[in-house]
């Protein structure tokens, strides 16, 4: 058991960092990279991640050596069978090389189960001594703008057995306007509820395929928000993409280049809206580096950034607004990972139908990603189809809309329902 206080989420001095590394080294090798990376990049972690990591390490420190050995022996044995000690395996951080070696081991499935078992046991111990769970309401708002021709939101697949769709009686745009109003909007409501810690930007996320949501935020915003707009990130994204496209067809070389890109100074390319927001910049960098189309298609960025924000920050509010993507250009569309505006002289032409199909499944993916965490029990969701003039609600039983089915809901009613969800 270490004697220094382990929970110090604000910043890490050297002695705490060293103490934590000692704790991490008690774990089997394959569990060390992710934790070491968290300690190393502490300042870029969101408060939720810092709290979780600190509590995990505190829980770990409470294990006596023989107790920990009993818990981790099966994983140690598995690592021996995998011959992990002789791999090119980075203990400093997660890497593609690590992931690739693990994934092609015949013991991969077994290994995943063992890691999960050890992690859960330590986390359970940590939770026993910590005050954790927040019971505050959470809300996901998905906006499918006018430009996306959508007949029905659950048309592709229903999102949830509790879901219900209503017509909108009035202007569908009004819903987002009310939700983001500077004084009476939802970020302001969350800020007012956030004592004693004070409002945190990571509690409210606005993620936009274009640059529309910012125009709804009146300035100055009384409430801190994490605002990511794909259109505003274009200059940075283009620079970043051109470097990503230099990675060799070699996994170790790729790891090296990606590590360089993480530490590179991209200051000239960041939008003004992210000035001084190192943590959010780091988040965008990680979203872009982790693939999933975020560097290529704006809607993939919206989905993946929202899913990662939910995983890493456990926010109370996520507003995700999808948009249009261009059609792959004739002939050059095969090089889809390239910057099509640079590579082809043709004007962009939008693909509304394809974009709508993409947005519908990706919107559902945001909802599904939120279902993986305990906070899902307090999470409601609303998807606004501006072209279909409909809204799709999912809510815990106590917060379901009270309107009779079949009626059309007014934007003001919907706004009041959203406030109620955050109570």
């Amino acid at each position: 058991m270490i004697e220094k206080p382990l929970i110090a989420p604000e910043s890490l001095d050297l002695s705490i960092r060293d103490a934590w590394r000692v704790q991490i080294a008690r774990l089997p090798l394959s569990m060390q990279p992710a934790l070491n990376q968290q300690v190393e990049t502490w300042d870029n972690l969101f408060p939720f991640e810092q709290k979780r990591a600190a509590e995990f390490l505190h829980g770990l420190s409470s294990f006596q050596p023989d107790e920990l050995a009993t818990l981790t022996n099966p994983l140690h044995h598995l690592e021996q069978k995998m011959d992990l000690a002789h791999w090119k395996f980075s203990l400093a951080s997660d890497s593609m090389t690590n992931a690739s070696q693990l994934a092609r081991s015949p013991y991969y499935s077994e290994w995943r189960l063992e890691v999960q078992r050890v992690f859960s046991a330590v986390e359970t111990r940590a939770r026993a001594s910590a005050q954790f769970a927040s019971t505050a309401g959470r809300l996901i708002i998905v906006v499918l703008p006018d430009a996306l021709p959508i007949a029905s939101i659950p048309g592709y697949k229903p999102w949830d057995s509790r879901a219900v769709e209503f017509r909108i009686d009035g202007d569908p745009h009004r819903i987002a306007e009310l939700a983001l109003n500077s004084s009476s909007g939802l970020p302001a409501l969350i800020a007012s509820q956030s004592a004693p810690c004070g409002p945190m930007a990571s509690d409210s996320w606005l993620i936009d395929a274009d640059a529309h949501l910012a125009s709804l935020l009146e300035s100055p915003q009384p409430a801190p928000t994490s605002l990511l707009q794909y259109a505003a990130l274009k200059t940075f994204k283009d620079q970043f993409l051109s470097q990503v496209n230099t990675v060799p067809k070699d996994i170790e070389g790729t790891d090296q280049i990606l590590a360089q890109m993480r530490h590179q100074d991209w200051s000239p390319w960041w939008p003004a809206s992210l000035a001084g927001q190192d943590r959010l910049r780091s988040f965008v960098t990680e979203v872009f580096l982790s693939g999933n189309g975020a560097l290529i298609f704006s809607n993939a960025f919206v989905q993946w950034a929202a899913s990662e924000a939910i995983r890493r920050a456990r926010p109370r509010l996520v507003v995700a607004r999808f948009g249009l993507r261009a059609r792959p250009k004739p002939f050059t569309g095969i090089a889809i990972f390239e910057n099509q505006q640079r590579i082809s002289a043709l004007e962009d032409a939008y693909d509304p139908e394809g974009s709508a199909m993409d947005a519908l499944i990706l919107a559902r993916y945001i909802w599904l990603s939120a279902q993986r965490y305990p906070e899902a029990q307090q999470t409601s969701c609303i998807c606004i189809g501006e072209s279909s003039r409909s809204v799709y609600f999912i809510a815990p039983e106590a917060k379901r809309p009270a309107w009779p089915s079949g009626i059309a809901a007014r934007p003001e009613q919907i706004y009041n329902w959203m406030r109620n969800c955050l109570a």
Partner: protein, 386 residues
């Protein structure tokens, strides 16, 4: 067009080499065992059963479902029990053992490929076994194993037409020549120039046993396919070009064992579901056209068995691996897929519900070529004349 002295020399050299290749063909042809049957094996990236052979997916595969299924032996339960990456999966199909290699194709398969067995035991010529691939995750290493008694000298011709196309477009853009999509002919010189360059390593090609340059017949095939591509009014996709090169190889060499991998549907990695489905529809059309071509070409008609199968599915909606984007989840959505067989070797059109594994293809195809003695984990699939 002005013919420079160098062009003239090239033309003369081409004639000489062509004649030489022709004589070599005859010389080695005498030694060849009598192989009557032909096999075309098509693997096509990752697509989920729910997006293909399921109620909601049939609209994406009208040709497979409407035109081909009624003539096929259909295997609705085909399991990929290996590493669900492209290089490992395709290597496993080729070798009949689950391969666990570097995903990016740095190393050769650890056990001999069917290409090598066919070339060594059945004494097929180099132009009798081909892999033509759209998939940029593969490398030329996949055409032959690292096993000492086999290896590249018995390997397949491996070519990546899509990579050629992409490199030409990217190179043009990098040199400040943005491609005008309306004028396809603008790309043709770029492609020809790349074909005529000295080094194909960047394309990962391996022609006729690890040679570092394209021989004249192969160059001719590529040039013809490029010309066809420029003329066609169809949407240009990587798989379209792979298809054109494949048909040209079939016409010129009529290989006994031709494998093609399509990959347009892999745009799913970038998060566009609509483009992913469009990729599935392209493959559906190309497989149908290829099945028609097999019946049109005398070298293939009535003696060819066509196998079509996805490499794997894709991950479940809501998975931590981000659903359809990827194919690395240990779930039935990712591991279970299907296979359709047409032509010469099928006993009768039928659906065979018994589960099979992808590595069962090796002993099945080996038996079609009368190679029987292998100690491998897979077993020949039912429903075939073997």
């Amino acid at each position: 067009m002005t013919l420079t002295r160098r062009d003239l020399m090239k033309a003369v050299a081409a004639v000489v080499v062509e004649q030489w290749a022709g004589s070599r063909h005859l010389a080695f042809g005498e030694d060849r065992l009598n192989i009557r049957r032909k096999v075309v094996l098509i693997t096509c990236g990752g697509m989920r059963r729910e997006d293909t052979f399921a109620a909601d997916g049939l609209a994406n595969i009208p040709h497979l479902h409407t035109d081909l299924l009624s003539r096929a032996a259909f295997y609705p339960v085909v399991r990929n029990s290996g590493v669900t990456s492209h290089y490992n999966t395709i290597s496993s199909i080729f070798t009949g053992t689950w391969q666990r290699l570097d995903d990016w194709g740095k190393s050769r398969p650890a056990s001999p490929t069917l290409f090598e067995f066919l070339r060594k035991l059945s004494r097929l010529k180099s132009e009798d076994t081909w892999l033509i691939s759209s998939n940029k995750a593969l490398t030329s290493q996949i055409g032959a194993s690292a096993v000492r008694d086999f290896g590249p000298s018995y390997g397949a011709n491996v070519i990546f037409p899509k990579q050629l196309l992409i490199n030409a477009v990217v190179r043009a853009a990098a040199q400040g020549r943005a491609v005008k999509g309306t004028d396809r002919t603008a790309v043709q010189p770029e492609l020809i120039s790349m074909l005529n360059s000295d080094n194909y390593d960047g394309l990962g090609w391996s022609i006729s046993g690890d040679a570092s340059s394209l021989d004249t017949p192969t160059l001719g095939i590529m040039q013809q396919a490029i010309a066809d591509l420029i003329r066609t009014s169809d949407p240009v996709t990587g798989d379209e070009f792979t298809f054109l090169v494949s048909t040209e190889v079939m016409r010129r060499f009529a290989p006994s064992f031709l494998t093609i991998t399509f990959s347009d549907m892999e745009v799913a990695h970038f998060g566009s579901y609509s483009l992913h489905l469009a990729g599935i529809r392209t493959v559906d059309r190309l497989v149908f056209e290829l099945s028609k071509l097999i019946q049109e070409l005398p070298a293939y008609k009535d003696k060819t068995t066509l196998f079509v199968l996805p490499e794997f599915g894709r991950d479940l909606d809501g998975s931590t691996t981000n659903g359809f984007f990827n194919h690395r989840q240990n779930s039935d959505s990712t591991r279970l897929t299907w296979m359709l067989c047409l032509g010469d070797a099928i006993r009768k059109p039928q659906t065979i519900e018994d589960p099979i594994e992808q590595i069962d293809l090796f002993p099945t195809i080996a038996r079609l070529f009368e190679l029987n003695t292998f100690d491998l984990p897979g077993k020949p699939i039912p429903g075939m004349w073997l």
